[in-house]
């Protein structure tokens, strides 16, 4: 056990050094993700002299006034995007369930609830498509040579 802990102490120091040298973000996307990762949502950060929020575009959309039209539009957009993820064979398991709950909320007239669920489903679909595209490019990095 002592040997193991010594090893992890060393590992800890390595991680410490690596963290001190965490790379500066190069793109807006990287800056957004790093700030969201460090501070969560509802945080403001500055990128190239401009101020931005760490909220996802979907979350900002879900904060607009709750109406039937808006809820329907957000739900539809999320369904279309998740369909695209399915065609890539990259859809996530829980996204369809979120879409179903959003539809139920819409039928019950709970527009805010529908918008929040559609926002989460849209975000998941967007990430799954991004994941498909990234892996199409980079999967070979994992192959032993």
């Amino acid at each position: 056990m002592n040997a193991a802990y010594t090893r992890y102490l060393l590992l800890s120091l390595l991680v410490f050094v690596a963290n001190v040298q965490a790379a500066e973000p190069q793109t807006y996307q990287q800056a957004f993700e790093l700030n969201r990762a460090m501070y969560g949502k509802g945080h403001l950060f500055t990128w190239q002299g401009q101020e931005f929020s760490t909220d996802h575009p979907e979350e900002l959309d879900a904060q607009t006034p709750a109406t039937r039209d808006k809820a329907e539009a957000m739900l539809h957009a999320a369904q279309v995007l998740n369909q695209r993820a399915s065609e890539l064979e990259y859809a996530w398991r829980m996204t369809a369930g979120l879409l179903e709950q959003a539809e139920q909320a819409l039928r019950a007239g709970e527009f805010r609830q529908c918008m929040n669920l559609a926002a989460q489903a849209h975000y998941q679909a967007r990430m799954s498509i991004q994941q498909a595209e990234y892996n199409q490019q980079h999967w070979r990095d994992a192959v032993p040579q």
Partner: protein, 120 residues
């Protein structure tokens, strides 16, 4: 005059104490939630890969490093939060799921689990 000052002092002390208690209670609640996130399969299931010296954490996996020395490893708690949010930023091939980036956990649950593991 003296009486007024004295009463102000008492009031300020009382306010500070209450605030402290509220803060402590919030933090304790956060840690309780964080422990649930760490242990439960439907939440973070961190225990599947990380050992931690919490007596309630039995049969931990070892795919990832044990939760140990966190304050030394992450002097900046925000960087630990960033690691939980998206471990692929530092290593694209890592087995660790990007809990925040893929919205596996809510931002509140991530705050909670970070608070919980930062004790170890």
């Amino acid at each position: 005059m003296l009486k007024v000052r004295w009463m102000t002092f008492v009031a300020v002390c009382a306010a500070l104490l209450t605030a402290n208690t509220v803060l402590a209670r919030d933090e304790a609640a956060l840690i309780v939630l964080g422990q649930a996130v760490f242990l439960e399969q439907s939440k973070g299931n961190c225990i599947a890969c990380h050992a931690i010296s919490d007596p309630q954490a039995q049969l931990a996996g070892n795919q990832g490093p044990p939760i140990f020395n966190m304050k030394l490893r992450y002097p900046d708690k925000r960087l630990l939060r960033a690691q939980v949010w998206d471990a692929t930023r530092n290593n694209p091939l890592t087995l660790m799921p990007p809990f925040g980036k893929h919205w596996i956990l809510s931002e509140h649950e991530i705050d909670a689990v970070v608070e919980y593991i930062y004790q170890y």
